[in-house]
């Protein structure tokens, strides 16, 4: 096991809107370097909340209280003088819905580089854009139309474009929020293949609702339930030898969903908090 680059220490998130919802109740985790960690659990269990609180992205919503700590390397991201944009550059984020910025394909990838001024010449920028588009296996599909709007690509291509845009600022950690859930099976496969290649070089934390995807891609699996950490283990042990009753039920229940009907899914959903209004 490699060293952890990102750790959480009793991280708790509470939505304090009309109704108070404890979305995350003191979660301590370690995300190992250059591995892919999958966060799974029933919907509304706090997966996305956990992910967003790792780079303070939840702060764009009002009425969120946070306690505990997140440490990147040896630096807390909450008790720090480092400006939030710098932190977010080091911990990138790819949202669930494939989202092209209202810019050309080229500018979508160059976006972060330009903002941080991390290039010396147009030629260098061109090289960087090509490099990252190749990295996400998109270059061959777009090299002759870099100036067209990113939004004209298919959703699967846009999702890979998002990966390229996030990777271009060389984050130490990449957060992916259900990045394949909005895609058709073939596009999802392509994005998965890309992630598969990327995980050797980057520390990736991925939220997924698909247990099969976690099985296929993840080195480590984290199981959340109702805002609490139930179990975390390397992928093989997690699925073959789940330690907690809840995990056993969830893994088993999921299998039942796959082969039978939605009965066990409604069990899994029983009593879970409704996602707070955004």
């Amino acid at each position: 096991m490699t060293d952890a680059v990102l750790t959480t220490d009793e991280l708790a998130v509470t939505y304090t809107g009309n109704r108070e919802v404890e979305a995350l109740k003191g979660v301590s985790l370690e995300f190992p370097e250059n591995q892919l960690t999958a966060i799974i659990g029933p919907s509304g269990c706090g997966k996305s909340t956990l992910l967003k609180s790792l780079n303070r992205l939840h702060e764009i919503q009002p009425n969120v209280d946070i306690a505990g700590n997140v440490v990147l390397g040896d630096q807390s991201i909450y008790n720090t003088d480092e400006p939030t944009p710098e932190l977010r550059k080091r911990i990138g984020y790819v949202p669930q819905t494939p989202t092209a910025l209202p810019l050309s394909i080229y500018e979508n990838v160059a976006y972060g580089l330009k903002i941080h001024g991390e290039y010396d010449s147009k030629a260098e920028l061109d090289d960087q854009v090509e490099h990252y588009l190749r990295k996400v296996n998109l270059w061959d599909e777009v090299e002759d139309r870099l100036e067209t709007p990113g939004a004209e690509l298919s959703t699967g291509q846009i999702q890979r474009l998002c990966l390229a845009r996030s990777l271009a600022v060389e984050p130490e950690v990449l957060l992916c929020d259900e990045v394949t859930s909005a895609l058709d099976p073939i596009s999802a496969e392509q994005v998965e293949a890309t992630l598969e290649e990327l995980k050797a070089e980057y520390t990736i934390v991925m939220v997924t609702h698909s247990m099969d995807q976690a099985k296929r891609l993840a080195d480590t699996v984290v199981f959340l339930y109702l805002g609490e950490l139930v179990e975390t283990n390397d992928t093989q042990s997690f699925f073959e030898n789940p330690q907690h009753e809840r995990t056993q039920e969830f893994v088993k229940g999921h299998t039942a969903v796959e082969y039978a009907d939605t009965e066990s899914e409604s069990d899994a959903n029983a009593g879970e908090p409704v996602a707070p209004n955004r």
Binding site: R88, L103, I115, P149, R278
Partner: protein
């Protein structure tokens, strides 16, 4: 016996579905009728205006009337130039004052304001937008007119009573700005949060996100808001009629009194209606207003749909 019951049942069923389908067909007729009525109304208005303008157009040359600055209906002099210049003056000045404020305020409300401040400011802007413009005209007569006449105009070396083009522009900017803010806030708030997250997620600041991403994505909506504001200033009647001074001459400064196309109509219609040519001239003014506003709406629609296709938001 049982057969006959069944057949009665199926008969009722059949007549029931028959009735439902009849209502279905009818509803599509009368709903469609309501829709086409809007088109018919527009055509009817334009035709009426055209028909009523004909007497004037048959006697005088359009180009000559549009470029002449002599407006004296009693002498059959119909120069529209002063009113046209006045209208352009007011529209450009109002939009120049209102648009930047509208966009900045919309950004503040949609992206920066939180909690109670947001609700408070938002609802006050809606209240402002709902105040009848005659109230703005009245308040302006008491407050803005003396201010412009006694302080602002002398300060820039111009003498004025306070009534005039600048005053109208200022008040019209105040009238349409809340309206443009409301619509711009709506289009900013309709953007998916993923856009903000994507941009912030690579380390952009909030302002960079707004400037490069959000304003562009909300562009079509904000653009429409501005054009709707433009249309309202262009066609504004009551505020200019109260504050412009009503002198039909080419304005020589922003503080000069003047006339806009709508004030030309309201100022002269009552007394000069008995003169057929004058009536025709005023109706021709109406025709110009309709045509220009329609052209602008049409152009706005084209630009908007092109922008939307390009960025798909």
């Amino acid at each position: 016996m049982s057969e006959s019951i069944e057949s009665t049942e199926s008969n009722t069923k059949r007549s029931r579905i028959g009735r439902r389908l009849r209502i279905e067909r009818l509803s599509s007729y009368w709903l469609g009728g309501a829709g086409y009525f809007a088109i018919a109304l527009f055509v009817l208005i334009v035709l009426t205006l055209l028909y009523q303008s004909a007497p004037l157009l048959s006697e005088y040359s359009i180009v000559q009337m549009l470029t002449s600055s002599n407006w004296d209906p009693a002498q059959n002099e119909f120069g529209f130039m002063p009113a046209i210049v006045g209208t352009i003056y007011v529209t450009v000045l109002s939009m120049a004052m209102g648009t930047p404020i509208a966009i900045f305020a919309a950004i503040y409300i949609a992206e920066y304001a939180e909690g109670r401040a947001k609700t408070l400011i938002g609802s006050f802007i809606d209240v402002l937008a709902a105040i009848p413009s005659v109230i703005f005209g009245l308040v302006a007569l008491i407050v803005v007119v003396p201010f412009v006449g006694d302080y602002l105009a002398p300060a820039v070396g111009s003498s004025a009573t306070g009534l005039g083009i600048f005053t109208v522009s200022l008040v019209m900017a105040i009238v349409v700005t809340p309206f443009m803010i409301s619509l711009s806030v709506e289009s900013l708030e309709a953007l998916p949060d993923e856009l903000r997250e994507s941009s912030l997620g690579v380390g952009a600041t909030k302002w960079e996100t707004i400037r490069i991403v959000l304003l562009r994505a909300a562009g079509p909506g904000i653009f429409s808001a501005i054009l709707l504001g433009f249309g309202r200033v262009f066609g504004a009647t009551i505020v200019p009629a109260m504050l412009i001074g009503g002198q039909t001459q080419l304005p020589d400064s922003p503080f000069a009194t003047g006339q806009t196309l709508p004030t030309l109509i309201v100022n002269d219609f009552g007394e000069l209606m008995s003169l057929p040519l004058t009536q025709s001239a005023l109706i021709f003014v109406g025709l110009m207003l309709v045509v220009v506003v329609w052209l602008f709406n049409f152009g706005a629609m084209l630009v908007r749909s092109r922008l939307q296709r390009r960025w798909q938001y």
